[in-house]
Symmetry: C2
Subunit: 336 residues, 2 copies
């Protein structure tokens, strides 16, 4: 048995599992943003014909999966394995989306890092030969998240300047042993970091530390430098967290310049869309991966990306109990 | 690349990853039950010296991990990878237990099936050579679960006869490429089933369908029969759900007799401990696995077990919204 472990936290995928299909479904605000034309489906309203915000989130996941299967030619059967998760209590967005589908399903919790975690596990499962394909799926919904984490929308709560706007959206990707598409070459599993940040409206700051550590470990584990990637894309630190990550990396001598970007800063236009520090939510990096990053690799805009999912692992209960915010960051190297 | 897939939902682990260490930490009520002497740690009170029930649950996970590392001789370093999850909103029991440990960590959500899901993924990671060892960890806490899912304890809510009692406990296991211990030979990933059960106080019924389907698929995928296992152990259907599973399996011609048992029925004494249908919670099957099932394999009491983690994938929000209860069951074959 070969060991595929490299360094402390990283693994290699020598069998080159490929992302052979991807799909995204988002709400109207996301459709009005800079990536609007790139999403596969932009809902006319955030309810998607459902009675509740939570059911609307489930519907977004179902739409993303349906589009994925159509693009992948899997309508008859479906993926051999699905890794999925979301931000709702008990991850009900995912569980309800998958009920009755007959897809073998493993539930994840990684907050906004869920898509990176799912992509990592799907790549690992396909690379090892457990399945010939595996899907990763995640979602978030602005209105469901606001009332769960902060206030119901009707309350009209004022948002702080450091807040991020939870994306209404879902992304789904299919990793396959055969077929054309960007290849997953390696991944780094994050550690749970907590630097004592207690402001739940400044999650970017809490996550920046975790992102810094995982990116440094990834490069060290694999003997790589920033020049080995055309883009290092976090998801989702927002503008404040991203600036903080830039400073933290600079202290370690890493100056990433234009190489560093963030899904939360790509999905909304800060000038015209009042989102403060940018987008967030388990659907943000998932939708940006499917609408912007994977197509950019295929078109030749970039050759090698490091996709770094960042999650703030708090709950409303831990915030009320005055606990600080643990965070995690998982990295997946994608090449084409 | 060999395919390790067998049938629709199952995978093989030909490199025979072994469970080389295990540990459990539980509350006082569990300590008074039939497995009391078998747990590694029985807390004197359910708070474990913490201010809140949620922090007490985190402490249970930390205690189980500390005991696991001590038994495995990993105090200096720790496992190469941890899969963990729990029932608290946003899985904060796990995230807070792992912060600052430096362990590479992937978060799961599988409700009471979390330990089976973690064991399956740890086995898959070790069998594939990604890591030389991986831990699976989960927990639940009666008081934290009661106030999150039902009523705060001080309210004195009456429990229905079909209710199960959430176990205060945590279990941790280490799967390794080398070393002595019961071997993981195969696993079956469950599908999300929903047969329209809407009574959140009768989760055993909701989960029995999922357990029935996964057990049948497991046997069919691997060409095995019930006689290939000395015990088929669900976790946790409770007495009502277990009786229902027995009926469902009998309809398919499978009569399991004494072979079928349930972690929720093993952990408490129904005569002296007022728990209605038995134990439940992500800590129940985890603690029973570590205190009863793995030691029973090592002592020769059984040779082959099928460990079937069952999870009810509801949330209080979906119950209030009158939704039915999706459920999942993942199976892991363990031999010694």
């Amino acid at each position: 048995m070969d060991t595929l472990r490299r360094g402390k936290q990283s693994v290699l995928f020598p069998n080159r599992p490929a992302v052979t299909a991807w799909a995204s479904a988002v709400g109207p605000k996301e459709g009005q943003g800079p990536l609007g034309p790139e999403f596969d489906l932009v809902a006319e309203d955030g309810r998607l014909g459902e009675k509740t915000w939570e059911q609307a989130e489930t519907r977004l996941q179902q739409k993303a999966m349906e589009l994925l299967m159509k693009k992948a030619g899997l309508e008859g059967g479906g993926p051999e394995l699905v890794f999925s998760g979301d931000l709702l209590n008990q991850c009900v967005g995912s569980s309800f989306a998958l009920r009755g589908t007959g897809f073998p399903a493993l539930g994840l919790y990684g907050a906004c890092s869920t898509m990176a975690e799912g992509l990592l596990l799907a790549g690992a499962a396909v690379n090892a030969g457990y399945v010939s394909n595996a899907a990763a799926l995640s979602s978030s919904h602005f209105a469901a998240a606001e009332r769960q984490y902060r206030f119901p929308l009707a309350y009209g709560g004022q948002r702080t300047p450091t807040a991020q706007w939870t994306v209404t959206g879902s992304g789904a990707v299919l990793v396959s042993a055969r077929g054309e598409g960007p290849v997953l070459s390696a991944a780094t599993v994050g550690t749970v970091e907590d630097k004592g940040i207690t402001d739940a409206n400044n999650m970017g700051a809490a996550m920046a530390w975790a992102a810094c550590r995982s990116i440094l470990v990834h490069l060290e584990d694999l003997g790589r430098g920033p020049e080995d990637y055309d883009r290092i894309v976090t998801g989702d630190l927002g503008s404040l967290g991203s600036a903080m990550l830039r400073e933290l990396l600079a202290k370690d001598g890493l100056r990433l310049g234009d190489r560093l970007t963030d899904c939360g800063m790509l999905i909304f236009d800060p000038k015209t869309q009042d989102v403060h520090c940018g987008g967030s939510g388990a659907g943000c990096s998932a939708a940006v991966l499917a609408a912007e990053l994977l197509p950019g690799l295929v078109s030749g805009r970039w050759k090698r990306l490091l996709f770094c999912g960042t999650g703030a692992l708090l709950s409303p209960t831990t915030v009320q109990q005055k606990q600080s915010i643990p965070a995690v960051c998982h990295c997946v190297a994608i090449e084409h």
